[in-house]
């Protein structure tokens, strides 16, 4: 065996040992912490859900295997979509009366990720936002400059507050806005599996318009 082959073998085996050791450590830690993280998420989701329509309401998740016929149909519809942000949708019910919808959406960009709940009424108007987790680097700006004013706005002003993304954390706010717009379309069932493409186009058009507007205003 010549020197070159020896070196090659030595270097690759060292790299393999180190990478393997690291992978084992990470894997073992994941096995240990994943159930706890899952449990924490469930608790947080339940806590946040109870804030949307109150603790007394029942939250029925849209699932195709639900025993409730209406929820089952909604579940089939949800599963037929390929969504970018929305992960779960619930119908809030008090006894036999439907109160409204709650959608959970998750978005990620280079600044971190957001996981939120948005309230949607039966008529299809937007309600408040509830944060499950927010790891954005401009977290404080996003919450004080965008989420709080949005939540404080009146029912008629929600749409305008949602589109006013200039808050010092514009990229994070745009991510939230896109998530909310998708959630609204899912809850009002204005989205079909083929319509997702058109939603993306409309969102990007809106972004372009906003950017042009901001640029022009800056000038």
């Amino acid at each position: 065996m010549n020197e070159f082959t020896k070196n090659l073998l030595k270097t690759s085996s060292v790299l393999m040992i180190i990478a393997g050791g690291a992978a084992l450590l990470v894997g073992a830690t994941n096995a240990l912490t994943a159930p706890v993280i899952e449990q924490n998420n469930i608790i947080k989701e339940k806590t946040m859900l109870s804030k949307v329509y109150g603790e007394t309401a029942d939250y029925l998740e849209w699932k195709s295997d639900s025993t409730d016929e209406k929820i089952k149909a909604d579940g089939v519809y949800l599963e037929s979509l390929s969504l970018k942000y929305v992960t779960k949708v619930w119908t809030a019910r008090n006894g036999s009366e439907d109160l409204g919808y709650v959608a959970r959406f998750y978005g990620k960009n280079g600044y971190g990720d957001v996981d939120m709940l948005v309230q949607v009424s039966l008529e299809g108007s937007l309600g408040n936002l509830f944060i499950i987790s927010d790891t954005m680097s401009y977290k404080a700006k996003l919450e004080s400059g965008y989420i709080d004013p949005y939540n404080a706005s009146e029912k008629d002003g929600k749409e305008a507050a949602l589109n006013d993304v200039k808050c010092g954390a514009t990229f994070a706010a745009k991510l939230v806005r896109n998530g909310v717009q998708e959630a609204l379309k899912v809850c009002t069932k204005t989205l079909s599996s083929t319509a997702l493409v058109s939603l993306d186009v409309s969102l990007s058009n809106h972004e372009e318009q906003t950017m042009t507007y901001t640029f022009a205003e800056g000038r």
Partner: protein
Amino acid sequence: MAEKVQSKHRESFVSGIIRQNPLFISMLGTCPALAVTTSIESAFGMGLLFTFVLLCSNVIISLLKKLIPEVVHTPCYIVVIAAFVTITKMFTEAFLPELYSTLGVFLSLLVVNCIVLGRAEAFANKNTVADSFLDAIGNGIGYTLAICIIAFFREALGTGGITIGKIFTFLPQFTLPLLKYPGTNIDMSMSVFTDSAGGFIVMGLALAVIMAIENKKNTKKKVDAKIKMQQEMAAKKAAAAKAAAAKSPAPAVATANAAIATPVAETKKEEK
């Protein structure tokens, strides 16, 4: 021999805390230091996690230093550091979710923190495991202290008090009012200190204070060295004058005394 080893251990530990403080002296890791210092609890949490990552990576790199070929040492260090950051992240998300949410992306960014990689490159791969361990503890304490000092001033000036128990939820929550007293009209807090600008202001002031102390120390050292040198020169002159006095006594003694007195007096004047 044992004393020499002990002194090296002490040096490894102490230098990172004050003399070679990673943040205030070496100016490393400033990005997370500005981002997570809005509250003393988040700064302390970041400091603890940083110390853990630095400690583990330093020890492992020191252990593997002879095994890792020179050409691939940087990728190997990054793999080791990334593994420990991921482990830390998982544990924090599971057991300290509030801290995880507060630190956000800056916890993941520990992978590319220049202090961690810098200590691995500059110290751990050249020194023993014990020294690397002590160096990591020293640097960890130094960094934690530095960010806690910045956070204390930012939180106190920005919110008017220090809140404990908001992130470490296992502690009872209480707020120590310093500039803002609930139930009264007294509110001297300045919200700019909780913003990014406040971080830069506090950090700049802290660095200015440290530089002033450092300058004072250096000036004192220089003056002391000058006095010592002049005293030595005067002593030499006096000895020469005394030798000459042996030949012609009276005027030479006066010259020798003047030779000792003049430079010392001049240096003291300069010092004043």
